[in-house]
């Protein structure tokens, strides 16, 4: 079977709020000097999900696809070093401002050309804009069923059994393939690249796709995006820190003070 994992290269989402800055006029995040881009963590877990399917003995070819700037190649290399077999890097200077909907439209087109795939995996959302739109969009545009927020997958014949997270519990869902599954953080830690796999990765093929090669009219997509949706602001909410630090010589003294302060504020 063929599995495709959609990955996005993003600025490190773990950077502290104290050094996080945005350019309000350009409505963009200001990158930190010298800090390399990372693979969106949910997407890394999607790669892990694909590799676990293979670990259980399913014969499969695992491909990754990434749409973004040329620098996305590092994320692709990391995916290949984790164990993916090949990759498609989608780049187009005419689509640098693509939003989630446009990204889904471009990816769907490229996937149509590169496929067919039995299973398309993606992170539940990209850890930069946190929108969770692209996976759903690919499924709708390719007329495939989708299961979101998965934390475990098992392929049985032509179906995939997915355990997914709900607000008040979990559910087990069986879906016919081909289908799209988005992966949530509950899946667990992705594996690290091994030296052996990293050496092999250097020889794994990375195909480059453009809007043109995928029959995408980038100026038309751009115009349609502008017509539908526009980011009109980006800011960091201001917060005033006024923490009342409770200190004391002993734990008893600290606890006594804490209780009296909470009681004074009618919190207990």
């Amino acid at each position: 079977m063929r599995i495709l994992v959609c990955i996005k290269s993003i600025q490190n989402p773990e950077i502290a709020a104290s050094v996080f800055r945005v350019d309000e006029a350009r409505k963009e995040v200001i990158p930190l000097d010298g800090l390399p881009l990372v693979t969106s963590p949910f997407d890394e877990q999607a790669i892990e999900a694909a590799l676990r399917i293979r670990d259980r003995g399913q014969e499969c070819r695992i491909s990754v696809i990434s749409f973004g700037p040329a620098s996305s190649k590092a994320a692709i290399k990391r995916a290949l070093s984790m164990g993916a077999d090949d990759a498609i890097q989608v780049m187009d200077t005419g689509l640098e401002q693509a939003d989630s909907a446009t990204t889904a439209r471009v990816l769907a087109k490229v996937i149509q050309h590169a496929g067919p795939f039995d299973l398309i995996l993606a992170g539940r959302q990209a850890a930069d804009w946190d929108a969770g739109i692209v996976g759903c969009g690919i499924a709708e545009l390719l007329h495939m069923p989708i299961v979101t927020f998965a934390y475990a997958l098992e392929v049985t014949g032509a179906r995939v059994v997915v355990e997914r997270v709900l607000d008040d519990g979990t559910e087990t869902v069986e879906a016919p393939m081909p289908c799209v599954v988005t992966i949530s953080n509950e899946l667990g830690e992705p594996r690290k690249a091994t030296l052996k796999e990293t050496m092999r990765a250097a020889k794994k093929p990375i195909e480059v796709a453009t809007a043109e090669s995928a029959d995408v009219d980038s100026s038309k997509l751009r115009a349609e995006q502008e017509h539908m949706r526009a980011r009109v602001g980006l800011y960091v909410p201001r917060k005033e820190s006024k923490c009342d630090l409770i200190s004391g010589a002993t734990a008893e003294e600290i606890a006594r003070q804490a209780i009296s302060k909470l009681a004074a504020s009618k919190l207990i």
Partner: protein
Amino acid sequence: MPTDSKKPAGVLVIGEMEDGAPSSLVLELLGLARRLLDGNGPASVLVLGQSGVTLTSALIAAGADRVYVAPGDARDVYASDVWLAALHGVLASVTPDLVLVGHTSLGAELAPRLAFRLGAAVATGCEALAWEDGHLMATRPCFGHKAREVIGLRTQPAIATVRARASDPLRLDASRVGDVVTISMDPPDTASTPCVTARARENRSDGIPLEKAKVVVAGGRGLGGPEGFSELARLAERIGGVVGASRVACDLGWCPRSWQIGLTGKTVTPSLYIAVGISGASHHMAGCGNSGAILAINSDPEAAIFKEARFGIVGDYKQILPVLVDQLARFKSQQPVTGGDAAVASR
């Protein structure tokens, strides 16, 4: 119906149920719909598989002018598939300017799917909505809750998923009038769509969901292991609270994953949030930042949580918590007895 291009003409709310009654989020969405409509109409709500005058009058009292009832049953069928089928039935006859969906595990999937099916624009996880110059302006957290973006949606309809507690429900008004419309729908084809084979609901022994708790005691990586949660449970029991956790603690398997509070977990708004061994990463604050007050206990004086907390204790929770639990017991025994429902937030 009055028309005014500065206000939306028609808002459709997705009526997710909770134990057979409208969820608190649906009531908030109806309140939000009415405020955005600002006298325009109608505010309608779609419910699935359930009807009955108790339910429909509750929705009308909460602000709905019209309740669409679809016969579907989402128990065995994959939820967003059956909702999409029902929406297809409603949208064949009405054209709202805005579709409001709760940002739940259902809504977060349903809204983007609906958007692509209709060719409409969508904004997910919004915390504020406004109608300006005939368009929806949606404010939503991004970059792990560190930033907010404002997006203008220019399609008809515009679709937005809205977070819990982003908006207040209306005061219930039993004298409001509205109509009930039963719609027909083609149930999704189970051969080509996912089907649900098992569903496990989380049942907490104390019965109070995290989202409704008045006091939440949450633990993170700083607990050092699953044992820490039993200490948190003792504290929670003492002050009528519910135990929650950060994503790291859940991912490490120290507690059930349904305890997770944050960007990809639950959003809680207790009057008191006690964060133990939680560093205070933005994605965690996304789930608890609107608490009445935060008491942070952390051994790292530089932890970001102290920038968010109203009260802070720098120190080892293993030394502080047992003493705090003991002293709380003594404190409580000196207090007059209050009603038994103190643990449930009143809103």
